[in-house]
Structure formats: structure tokens, C-alpha cells
Subunit: 159 residues, 2 copies
Amino acid sequence: MRPGERGLRELDEIDRKLLRLLAADARRTNASLAAELGIAQSTCLARLNALRASHVIRGFTVDVEPGALGNALQALVFVRIRPGARHLMSEFGKAMTEVPGVTQAFFLGGDEDFLLHVSVRDAQDVRDFVVEHLSAHPAVANTRTSLVFEHLRGAEPWG
Amino acid sequence: MRPGERGLRELDEIDRKLLRLLAADARRTNASLAAELGIAQSTCLARLNALRASHVIRGFTVDVEPGALGNALQALVFVRIRPGARHLMSEFGKAMTEVPGVTQAFFLGGDEDFLLHVSVRDAQDVRDFVVEHLSAHPAVANTRTSLVFEHLRGAEPWG
DNA sequence: CGTGAAACCCACACGAC
DNA sequence: GTCGTGTGGGTTTCACG
């Protein structure tokens, strides 16, 4: 790694296993993690803090059933940016992540420029979202919406 | 709700705030959560366990920087299922989530049937993935791949 | 359901290797 | 980097409202 670059220090086998265990249950106690890794608690804690400090770990979150809070409908919205507004793309993406209901935003290469994953109550909410935040936006050329019948999470890439 | 049914009991304001706090940092101590919510620790723990038991909380995970483990490239792969193989779609989706590198699978309505989000090392890996797991699969009619330049996570829907 | 109190267990410094 | 230990604080149970 070049000096001054953000720390992407090599991860050893223990680091990877630690990440894998946390991916399965991020609320496990440090003691139980250490036991399964076969290292001392203090060592395990030091590694965990190092992974946080070096931004390998971005954070710990809870995975919530979307339907539990009245968000029964998910959709993917493809967005094409107006050719004359390409310089607004990065800004546009960030703005979209602030909109309630938008859970992910992909900045794409290819036919379409953006893909937004939205989780909302019903079809009316999707329409409102597209009309209010996309069609009205000066940078947006056009959009295309697909309903999500099922959303599956894959195995974490460091399996 | 009928007894024995999967609990989608109403969430009150405290439950929602609890989920929001956990979304921001899933490893916060129960004590600090209780303090911020203005309830007793034991009450907070009881609510947390209830949310887990009723499957409102699916789990706690760690958010890892994808590049940190050598996965520098992300792509979206759209998949069209062969008309005669529609009955294999559900099975196909589950199988895809087991493939290393596949982080998400969307089961779609619209032009295309599936969208796969893959996180891999380089372009060669994308090609290998498409050739080995998609083109060769009897249910797959055709695929289309878009590179992901940036992947942003949105605010959680219960903000 | 909610709570306070108490036993138990854990997190997180240290200092040493 | 790794480890063992101590102690302040957290987790969890339980009897009670």
C-alpha cells in the first residue's frame, strides 16, 4: 500500500474469521468471539478495535424484516441522467440516499446511470417517490420501475 | 394475530426508536440503549428479545468495507429465465445466494426476472461467474451485466 | 407490561512477555 | 502482537407491582 493511503493492511486468517463470526451475529460478546477464535479476550478486542480504526469495519447494523414496519413493497427504480447534467450525478446519488424509503443506491456504468432500491408501504408510495423526487428533478432524463417480488441476501463475500 | 402465527405485532414508538439506535450501532450496550430510551435496562432487554423472537429483527451484522478483502469490483447481473423454466425461478434464486460473491438477489417483475449483486476481485471474476453459474445454467435465457461504480446505503426506512 | 436490586459475567484498561 | 489479571460496569434473572 502506498504511504498515506487509507489503511488497507492485510487481513490474516483470524481477522477474516472474526469478521465472519460478527457477520453471523454482530452482538456476540467479545469473550465468546475470543473463545471460538482460540485467542485471549484482550487480543480479540485489540483486533476488533484495529479493524474499526482502519475502517475495514464500517459499522454494525441490525437487519430488520421490512414488512414489520409497514413497508410491504419493494421496488427497483432505474434512472437515466440527462446528458447535460452528468456532473450532478455524484451529488444526485448522495441526495437520493437521504430520501426516506431509499435503502440502496447504485451508481452504474451501462445503459442506465442509477439504480435505486426503495422499500415503501404500497404502490402509491412508489408513484409518489418517482414523481416527487425523480421526475421533478432537473438532472433526471427518465426512469423505469420494476417490482421486487423477493429480496434474498447472499453469503458474505469473505466466506 | 392467530396463535402460532409469525408475530407481526404492532411496534410502538419505543420499539421503533430502539431499532433506529441499533441500526446506527448494533453493538451498543443494553444499558446505554435503555438510558437513551428512558426505560429500565430490564425492560429494554425484554423488548429487544421480543423483537428477536417475533422475527422483526432478523439478525445483527457487521458492515465491512468490500475492498478490504480484495473485492474491489462490484457488478449487477440481470438474468432472464427461459420461458419453459419459470417453475425453477425460486429454486434458482436460492441457489444463487449460495454462490460466493453474490451478496444480494432480487426476484423481479418486469423485463428481467432476476438481478444479482456480485462483489468480486476483478473483471475476470465477473466473467467466470457469469460463464460458470449463469450461461451454463439450463434455466437461464440470457444475461446483461452492469458495473457498479459506487454503492451507497440509504437511511433505514424507519427514520 | 413495567420495574429495582443482586448475582453473575464481561469489557477494557494495564503491565509483562 | 499476544497474553493474564483486576475492577468497574454491563447483562440477566427474579420477585414484585
